[in-house]
Amino acid sequence: MSILSTKHFIGLEEATKKDIETLIDVGYMFKEVLDRPIKKVPSLTGINIANLFFENSTRTKLSFELAEKRLSADVINFSASSSSLNKGETFKDTVQNIHAMKIDGIVMRHPTPGSCLQLTKYVDSVIINAGDGSHEHPTQAMLDIMSLHEKFGSLSGLKVAIIGDILHSRVALSNIYGLNKMGAEVMLCGPAHLIPPFIEDLDVSVSHDLNEALDWADAINVLRIQRERMGIGLIPSVREYRKFFGITNKRLSALKNKIIVMHPGPMNRGVEIDSDVAEGDHAIILDQVLNGVAVRMSILYCLLGNEKDIKKNEKK
């Protein structure tokens, strides 16, 4: 058994508050490791991890790979082009191959919601969700939560606004589940048609007025506007979006309280967030990146750290 309540890390919907707290605690320990001259510990020596990326990702993949290597795990990478995936065939085949290779842990990014859960039915390995379509991206939410925890000391009663295209975001759902479990209040703010239907049922408030959200919030998480969404008529134009939902220094300096600005990256500077905000003293965007490695080490360690014990017992 792992020290978390689940064998896999599929989503924060399933995680308990205690799981999240444990991962943050252990995350801080790894953050200290990342400050050392030799940023590597032997915790996962002999553990094999496959990074399966069925969708483009630079940051998440890099962060996971670094986390795995800093834990001394053996890492293999697999990236499938999205075109070969369109028929939905390679998924099962690839997975069965991986299964046959006796991999201990699989980190998977896949464009289809639920694919990580489906994977748990086919293989025994520990599965970690690195983003499944517009469902969950739990490790991103964990690094957001850890960054907030680091900044505020506690999430209880904290007011967090998530701003932007919630509908197409995989970060939003995971954040909502995680923040709610940790006692924070969540507000979603974005154009009305980019807020998912019935989302209020998840105990969040919704606003379409950025100023209202900024006045209310202690911290904001600014989502990336995907430019490809603009082609299908969802976002009329960059200037229209920036005018009503862009985070600018002018907006932030008009606020009574100083709020914290997060962004999961990559940023569209001058669209959802201005450069001077991203580099200003409201932003903790680079802390998020470092915490991302630490918390992913924490997740990998907590789920896979005991694999060695299991292996030892099998030998006996």
């Binding site: 020290i3 490791v33 001259p37 030799i38 032997p42 915790s43 750290g305 014990d309």
Partner: protein, 181 residues
């Protein structure tokens, strides 16, 4: 069942032992500016702090002190995660070129010490590492020996040594425990 079999040391005994170890460290290390005392979490951390204070007081020298947490270096995951308090290692000085005095409460298989040495090396390359423990109970599984030892208690496999420290357990004492069924 865990049973107390014997009280091996009380508060005063412990005080004397620490004083003796401190003097031995001073005697063996003529260049006190080169030494640094590093405790192994949890109880080794407190013992190391006490020894650091004693040496500072005796010699009127500022002595560096640090803590290592060997959780990530252990080769057994579960045993370690049960321990109530884990925290980051805390070494704020450069270990390169130093003589590190590694402190723990009980020396048993030697695996913790190996892990702690690995961890110290992740911070840099010390000139030497010396080992000090309050109790050596035997049953070594690795070629590790003590430089400073409070007391040797050769134990049977079912006998365990518990060192209690005021800051953590409310009392200073060393107990011999019986773990047999």
């Amino acid at each position: 069942m865990k049973k107390i079999k014997a009280h091996l040391q009380n508060e005063n005994d412990l005080k004397r032992t620490l004083m003796r170890i401190s003097h031995e460290i001073i005697e063996k290390n003529p260049d006190l500016n080169k030494i640094a005392i590093v405790g192994i979490r949890t109880r080794g951390e407190v013992i190391a702090q006490r020894i650091t204070q004693l040496i500072s007081k005796i010699t009127n020298t500022q002595i560096d002190n640090g803590t290592v947490d060997v959780t990530f270096y252990r080769d057994d995951f579960k045993n370690n995660f049960d321990s109530p308090k884990i925290g980051p290692s805390d070494i704020k000085f450069d270990v390169s070129g130093r003589n590190i005095i590694l402190i723990d409460d009980v020396l048993y298989t030697g695996r913790t010490i190996r892990a702690a040495m690995d961890e110290i090396f992740s911070y840099g390359r010390p000139d030497s590492i010396q080992l000090g423990v309050l109790v050596d109970r035997g049953h070594r599984e690795l070629p590790i020996k003590t430089d400073f030892v409070g007391k040797n208690y050769p134990t049977s496999i079912n006998e365990h040594i518990h060192v209690h420290i005021k800051e953590i357990d409310g009392e200073d004492e060393v107990l011999l425990m019986d773990y047999s069924e």
